[in-house]
């Protein structure tokens, strides 16, 4: 384990006119660490995620990323070409709706293989073998490799999206409500799968969720957001077992017990 963070975020703010998207967010993320960002809809957690993943430019603040060669680069000063390259090699983005992250009209195998082809792999047999391997890692039968994701269930689509993102061995994955809209049993399977993959691959991840159970299961650290600001942050179990901020107490007390 290295002693240097992977991502350093400092005083990041995003305003939509006079409205606050997110304000003055600072944190470090280390390799292999899962950070959950929780809060209700409109709390700014998705704005934050979009800024961090450079899908959105912040109004102020900086975010630096440690590249594979050890060099620190400021995300918002990189050229678009560099950012897009980062996006499809060293990063992943798992959307809540798999249709946003998949090509629905090309086969599962091509969905997984696209990133490989994008970084220059030109050997069909090798690309396909990698796709088969990744499909099995996300528990999709090999014989579905030539089916389009349109023919997949919601849970399968989400697992395919994860495989598509992880195939290039990224070091940082952004997830926006990865289990939203899935049945509870499907959710459990996906969470377990994600946990296993993240541990095996040593990924760092930032997971936006409104579901505290998802946060507890996936993350070691969490930030609680309200009205665009971080109201509490710390170890996930500390925040959930000993919530200090009024809003966090409200959130925790609102969890339905099974």
């Amino acid at each position: 384990m290295t002693d240097e963070p992977l991502l350093r975020v400092s005083a990041l703010s995003k305003f939509y006119g006079s409205r606050v998207g997110c304000e003055n967010i600072s944190f470090d993320l280390w390799p292999g660490e899962m950070l959950a960002v929780v809060g209700e809809s409109g709390s700014g957690k998705t704005t934050l995620l979009n800024c961090l993943s450079t899908r959105l430019l912040p109004s102020s603040g900086t975010a630096s990323y440690r590249m594979r060669d050890g060099q620190w680069r400021e995300l918002y000063r990189m050229s678009e070409a560099e950012r897009r390259f980062l996006m499809r090699t060293d990063w992943g983005f798992v959307h809540q709706n798999p249709a946003d992250g998949l090509r629905m009209t090309v086969s599962a195998g091509a969905n997984v293989g696209e990133r490989l082809m994008a970084v220059g792999d030109r050997h069909y047999g090798r690309i396909r073998a990698t796709a088969v391997d990744w499909l099995s890692r996300v528990e999709i039968d090999e014989d579905r490799i030539d089916d389009e994701p349109r023919a997949f269930s919601g849970g399968m689509r989400q697992r395919l999206q994860i495989a598509r993102n992880l195939v290039t061995g990224p070091r940082l994955v952004f997830m926006d409500e990865p289990t939203g809209g899935l049945d509870v049993s499907v959710q459990a399977r996906l969470l377990d799968l994600l946990r296993g993959l993240v541990t095996d691959l040593g990924l760092a991840a930032i997971v936006v969720t409104h579901d505290l159970a998802v946060a507890r299961l996936l993350s070691q650290r969490m930030m609680v957001m309200k009205d665009g600001r971080v109201v509490e942050s710390g170890l996930t179990d500390r925040v959930l077992d000993d919530p200090r901020a009024p809003y966090t107490q409200l959130l925790v007390s609102s969890i339905l017990q099974v």
Binding site: D192, Q220, R221, R238, D242, L250, S253
Partner: protein
Amino acid sequence: MPTPLVVSDVAKSFTMHLRDGVTLPVVAAVSFSIRAGECAVLGGPSGAGKSSILKMLYGNYAVDEGQIIIQHEGGLIDLASASPRTVLAVRRHTIGYVSQFLRTVPRVSALDVVAEPLVERGEDREGAREKARTLLAQLNLPEKLWALPPATFSGGEQQRVNIARGFITEHPILLLDEPTASLDAKNRDVVVDLIAAKKAAGVALLGIFHDLDVRDAVADRVIDVTAFAAGKIAA
């Protein structure tokens, strides 16, 4: 003898924002230390704050005041003010914890639940599983359960998985929160033996045991938590 854990003047209260911000003091001026190879037991009635102290020592509860000094990776750190990342490292390498209840993860087998702390410390999975098998056998968990996720186990079975998970590593400090609460006599004895083995290995143990037989069998010393009652200070 080294003293891997020193607690000094720790205070804890809860502020209930949902109840008009009323503050519930829990403990104050908590001060004690545990030596290596010693098993200390927190004593006192329910609600005295025994569990809260244990949770603060594990970083699970925030600390309002005071210091929790531990020997970690050859240095001394204050857990009360440590960053989340440091707390995680302490949990991985220095402080083990056996809670009252097992928090299960869907679809992970009992064997892997037990082996996980070792894998997190960098041991290879098969070696970790081997140690997990030994411990689960020692705790008399039927072998047919090992491959199943513990979510559907009985309380006693879950507790044994939990104990095995806590005891599998060689953390120099081990916190025990009523590990024997739902065990039968035979398995209680196994736990007593496990604790004795840890003591012999120089581990500093701090526990809560409501079962007086077990407490008498393992405790070198009882720390009376009522001495740290927050009301007393306030009064």
